[in-house]
């Protein structure tokens, strides 16, 4: 669906079902340079199992118009505004990588509408190498190549795919090449409030890690989990791009937690 947030047309994937703000809503927040499609194999399940799905493309990303936002704090405020526009009443926030930094910023603004938060392959801080940012400023495609080489685990590097016939590296590369990757990476670099935000939250929290994650390694994810007093699960044989790389196991880890915290 298309909604207007801050004067800009914003695309929000709803998992193939009409959006109903009265239903408990699972909000999927994408990572740097990505879009709603990284959640294709999680969002649709929720939409057909009693939930509404709200998976926006952030401003300037893929199907959404507007200028990209420059900081995690701005992105967090924007997400809250988008949820207000959509009239969402009961919210489960799920964020991948940078998406969970945005979740940390949004959570404290949502009050008792927020029912749970889930981090997928993330950490309280995501420092970014300056050379990677410099590369992304020159060529998002070249930076995407560097990130995808690190981002996907060994099975995907050898051509495995959870969806028959597909090549997730090429799909990720295409999406990231067309999006404002450098701006997102700089926002990650500059964000330092994650740990204090995490420690201040008291919502049910879920942290899903990948044992081959080189971008937000497991020990950083465990520190985040400790700050959140979170439920933790670790998915084996997978890298940082969990939602695309191990979609079924990622979905299983999200849904068991969201269902448990929906009653």
């Amino acid at each position: 669906m298309i909604i207007n947030v801050g004067g800009n047309e914003t695309f929000v994937a709803t998992g193939g079902q009409a959006f109903d703000p009265k239903k408990p809503t699972v909000v999927f927040v994408h990572g740097s340079g990505l879009d709603h499609r990284c959640w294709a194999l999680q969002s649709r399940w929720f939409a057909f199992h009693g939930y509404s799905v709200f998976a926006p493309d952030f401003p300037g990303h893929s199907l959404s118009k507007g200028e990209p936002l420059l900081s995690i704090e701005e992105m967090g405020e924007w997400l809250v505004e988008a949820l207000v526009v959509a009239g969402v009443e009961s919210i489960h926030l799920v964020g991948h990588s940078m998406g969970f930094l945005i979740v940390l910023e949004s959570a404290s603004l949502l009050g008792d509408r927020l029912k749970s938060i889930t981090a997928v392959a993330s950490a309280a801080a995501i420092p970014v190498n300056e050379e990677l940012i410099s590369t992304a400023e020159t060529s998002a495609t070249n930076a995407a190549d560097l990130m995808l080489r690190w981002g996907f685990g060994s099975h995907t590097q050898l051509g495995s795919s959870a969806v028959p016939g597909m090549q997730p590296i090429a799909i990720g590369r295409q999406i990231m090449s067309d999006n404002p990757l450098a701006i997102d990476l700089k926002a990650c670099r500059d964000y330092s409030a994650g740990k204090s935000r995490a420690e201040s939250l008291s919502y049910p929290a879920n942290v899903i890690l990948a044992d081959e994650d080189k971008m937000t390694p497991c020990n950083f994810g465990l520190e985040l989990a400790s700050s959140l007093n979170a439920n933790v699960s670790t998915i084996k044989n997978s890298g940082h791009m969990l939602p695309m790389e191990s979609p079924k196991r990622t979905l299983d880890a999200i849904k068991s937690f969201v269902i448990k915290n929906s009653n």
Binding site: S160, M166, Q167, I171
Partner: protein, 433 residues
């Protein structure tokens, strides 16, 4: 332009898409010879049917062995995804009807495989899809042929039988200016010799029966999505961008983006039309693809040597290969095919139609048959076989001279191929004395 893997092509050809299975550790790809797959629960089955999860339901739509082949081909081409089909022709048909509906239009190169021309000229016309044929490297003709209802431009990267190389970047520029994708049949090229997506192509189709398999034992096709065409920008392809009722109004573009085109094929054509590849065929083709890079090097090397040898023979009246300077597309071949423009060549022999027949009948090693891309050298004299019902004037109009001999150069010892050709030429020469 999707780049699917950070491995080299030789490594991709051996490994991509399969790691030893967790049950038995089989190093070779297993053949999953099954029609169907047990669902863990009712909900699991429902989720698979509703594309909520990836996985296998029924082998008409997906099969694990076929999926390994698909992922390997996608990785070799640098695409976002592949669907394999029962043949190269079914791959083309599925591609065309996924992008076109009744009332739509295709622009195609004139010089293409005969069965593809028939599909475009007659079969699709019966379904209400029209086609205009143009010399594909004629930019004025190509621009002039594109209409408001044109949905794609089609060509072969190396045209059959004239061996003219399509100027893919120039064709792509014109197509993209008009908001339509370029579909290329890259059977003669293979990803080993030309990476079509790096030259602006949007969709690649293969008859994997040919060089990709190489052994001549299995028929198959493949459709590879380059992943870079922006279907949403121009709104010209409602099958990709508009809601699709059978899956609760899904928009493939919104849902899958870079893999929207092949996801639509999987969800619609493979389900409704059923042109699926068998798992055993996929296994056979995987055996061939493992050595694709090595074979293509040898194919090209032999083609170059045979071409040079033929040029020196008095009984040979002419030789055509894109790597030769007098081929009209030689400069394009140099740009797009840095390692050599394939292993198809044509030449003429003395004695016209009878000379060609005599040449073929005298061969002892090379095979006289209507196929290409086998590891063995295959030779055909169209005037006495595929085009034998035409008179000389009609054949010349079709770009085929009566003395034309088409060669798909194999990977035998080049000395043995040349020796066999010497015997053939002597037989043709005897007719002129």
């Amino acid at each position: 332009m999707g780049k699917s893997s950070f491995l080299g092509p030789e490594t991709i050809a051996l490994y991509s898409g399969y790691q030893p299975d967790p049950l038995y550790g089989s190093r070779a790809t297993p053949i999953y010879q099954t029609t169907s797959y047990a669902f863990e629960t009712v909900d699991e089955g429902a989720s698979l049917f509703n594309i909520e999860k990836g996985g296998h339901i029924y082998s008409r739509i997906t099969n694990p062995t076929v999926a390994i082949l698909e992922q390997r081909i996608a990785a070799l081409e640098g695409g976002s995804g592949t669907v394999c089909t029962a043949s190269g022709m079914s791959a083309l048909f599925v591609t065309f009807i996924t992008l076109c509906s009744a009332g739509d239009h295709i622009v195609s190169a004139t010089q293409i495989y005969g069965s593809t021309a028939t599909l475009l000229r007659h079969t699709l016309k019966r379904l209400g899809i029209d086609c205009t044929f143009v010399p594909i490297n004629d930019e004025v003709a190509l621009k002039g042929a594109i209409q408001k209802n044109t949905k794609l431009v089609f060509c072969e990267s190396i045209g059959n039988p004239g061996l003219e190389v399509s100027d893919l970047p120039a064709i792509a520029d014109i197509a993209h200016e008009n908001g339509i994708p370029v579909v290329v049949d890259a059977t003669f090229a293979t990803p080993s010799l030309c990476k079509s997506f790096e030259h602006g192509v949007d969709i690649v189709v293969h008859s994997v029966t040919k060089w990709m398999g190489g052994h001549g034992v299995a028929i198959g096709g493949a459709i590879v999505d380059g992943g870079s065409f922006d279907w949403g920008k121009h709104g010209k392809h409602p099958t990709i961008t508009e809601p699709y009722d059978p899956f609760h109004g899904i928009s493939f573009w919104e849902e899958y983006g870079p893999s929207a085109f092949v996801m639509r094929i999987r969800a619609e054509s493979m389900r409704d039309l059923g042109p699926s590849m068998s798992p055993h065929t996929a296994f056979l083709l995987l055996q061939g693809i493992e050595t694709l890079e090595l074979r293509m090097q040898k194919h090209v090397e032999n083609a170059k040597k045979l071409t040079q040898w033929l040029l020196k023979q008095e009984l040979v009246t002419w030789v055509n290969h894109p790597d030769l300077p007098d081929n009209p597309t030689h400069s394009i071949a140099e740009r797009l095919f840095p390692y050599g423009a394939g292993s198809m060549l044509c030449f003429g022999v003395v004695g016209d139609r009878d000379g060609g027949s005599a040449f073929l009948d005298a061969l002892e090693l090379c095979s006289n048959l209507a196929n290409v891309g086998d590891s063995r050298t295959l030779v055909l004299h169209p005037a006495s076989t595929t085009h034998s019902r035409m008179d000389n004037d009609a054949m010349i109009a079709a770009g085929i001279s009566p003395d034309l001999i088409r060669v798909s150069v194999g990977i035998e010892s080049i000395e043995d191929i040349i020796q066999d050709f010497k015997v053939g030429l002597r037989a043709a020469g005897r007719l002129t004395k």
